[in-house]
């Protein structure tokens, strides 16, 4: 899913594909770690995860740009970052039912307790 989202979004941004993929993999790893520790079923946890990842997106992008790119980011769009962090959790409530439908179609059972998915 991470690769698919990367390919879809990469067509509308000039960010190099490799860097964008690395960024998304780091975000996926962070969200997976967070979920494995603090999972609660329901849209609220989903909104918290979405908000946390939108907050983490810019710092990770900035660090990767410093390490990888020959001309790193010089001007941070702080206001855009704050707006993104506020709006993403709000919009996640609208997106949550779509993902529930996808889970139903793929017959993926949601874990009810933290750690059960590893049994």
């Amino acid at each position: 899913m991470t690769y698919l989202i990367t390919l879809l979004v990469a067509s509308v941004t000039a960010m190099p594909l490799g860097m964008f993929l690395l960024l998304n993999i780091i975000l996926y790893a962070l969200s997976y770690t967070f979920k494995s520790k603090f999972y609660q079923p329901g849209p609220i946890f989903f909104a918290i995860i979405c908000g946390a990842m939108s907050v983490a997106f810019m710092p990770i992008h900035f660090i990767l740009s410093l390490i990888i790119e020959p001309t790193p980011i010089q001007d941070l769009e702080i206001i855009f970052w704050l707006l993104q962090s506020l709006l993403t959790p709000l919009l996640s409530f609208a997106v949550y039912p779509i993902f529930c439908i996808i889970d139903d179609l793929t017959n993926k059972e949601l874990p009810t307790e933290v750690g059960r998915q590893f049994e």
Partner: protein
């Protein structure tokens, strides 16, 4: 027989009852004033009539006021709705008028230059704000190739980063990965313009001894024949020189505001177009002689003025 057996009182009363109306009729015909006998009655009746008239007119007034209010409210709602519709129409007309003016400027610019231009429209922006790119509705199907210059009547916008079949991605001059060869119009000092943010660019590789001042216009050099020569890139807003560095730190304000882009031109062929006034033309003894370049610059200046007003 009791015919003659009558009382005198009854006779007198009967006679008075018969005679009094005739007497009053006689008095009414001969006198112009109200008879004294009738005056108390007419006065009392008058009072009652006045009181009733006042009361009924008050009731009529209140009733008609209420009925008028209902009509007024209905008319007010209808007028407000009509007003809102007219305002919306006015907004649409104003938008069409502005678009018409913009398109006329673009057409005038296109007809006055020998460059081969393809008009396009901005349909999208980069999803990530740290990258300054836009998507336009022209692609390889329309003859667009990677590296072609993109500009507006106000100045240089950027160049084609990636060309797909029907759309192309344009990297703006405000992107940190862009590089446009430019020179200072006044002193001809050359350098490379790259982006810092959506509101500023950097003019790199200027030598320490190059003469650059705040307010200088920076234009394209046209050496690669991608951008036409002398096309506005930006204006110098900051000049810094470190104590031991070999280059100057110069910042520019771009000539085109990337947030307000709607219509653009893709330069299919720059045709060695030159917007830079040569030294011979600037020292000309006939300053009133209007050359093709002056006409184009005039069109650019007029268009820039109105584009600035739009911003």
């Amino acid at each position: 027989m009791n015919f003659f057996n009558f009382s005198l009182r009854k006779v007198i009363v009967f006679t008075a009852a018969i005679l009094i109306p005739f007497i009053l009729i006689k008095m009414h015909r001969t006198s112009k004033e109200t008879p004294l006998v009738l005056r108390p009655f007419t006065f009392t009746v008058g009072l009652i009539q006045n009181a009733y008239s006042s009361f009924s007119s008050g009731v009529r007034g209140t009733t008609s006021l209420y009925l008028n209010l209902v009509d007024i409210k209905r008319d007010n709602r209808s007028l407000m709705r009509k007003n809102a519709e007219l305002r919306a129409q006015l907004g649409t007309m104003t938008e069409l008028k502005l678009e018409n003016e913009r398109l006329n400027q673009l057409l005038e610019f296109k007809t006055q230059t020998k460059m081969q231009l393809l008009a396009g429209r901005v349909v999208g922006q980069d999803l990530i704000p740290e990258h300054s790119t836009i998507t336009i509705n022209r692609g390889t199907y329309h003859g667009v190739e990677q590296g072609m210059a993109v500009l507006t009547v106000s100045g240089a916008v950027g160049y084609i980063l990636q060309a797909e079949m029907l759309n192309s991605q344009v990297i703006l001059i405000t992107d940190r990965f862009s590089a446009v060869d430019a020179l200072v119009q006044r002193t001809r000092a050359r350098g490379i313009v790259s982006g810092i943010s959506s509101e500023a660019c950097k003019f790199n590789y200027l030598k320490r001894g190059d003469d650059v001042a705040i307010g200088d216009q920076v234009v394209t050099s046209g050496l690669d024949n991608i951008f036409p020569k002398g096309f506005p890139v930006g204006e110098v807003i900051k000049v810094e020189q470190s104590e031991y560095g070999v280059t100057k730190d110069v910042e520019l304000r771009p000539a085109v505001n990337p947030n307000n882009l709607e219509e653009i031109f893709i330069v299919l062929n720059a045709a060695q177009e030159d917007f830079l006034p040569s030294e011979e033309e600037s020292d000309s003894e006939t300053p009133n002689k209007e050359t093709e370049i002056d006409k184009s610059k005039k069109a650019l200046g007029q268009a820039s003025g109105s584009a600035n007003i739009e911003r």
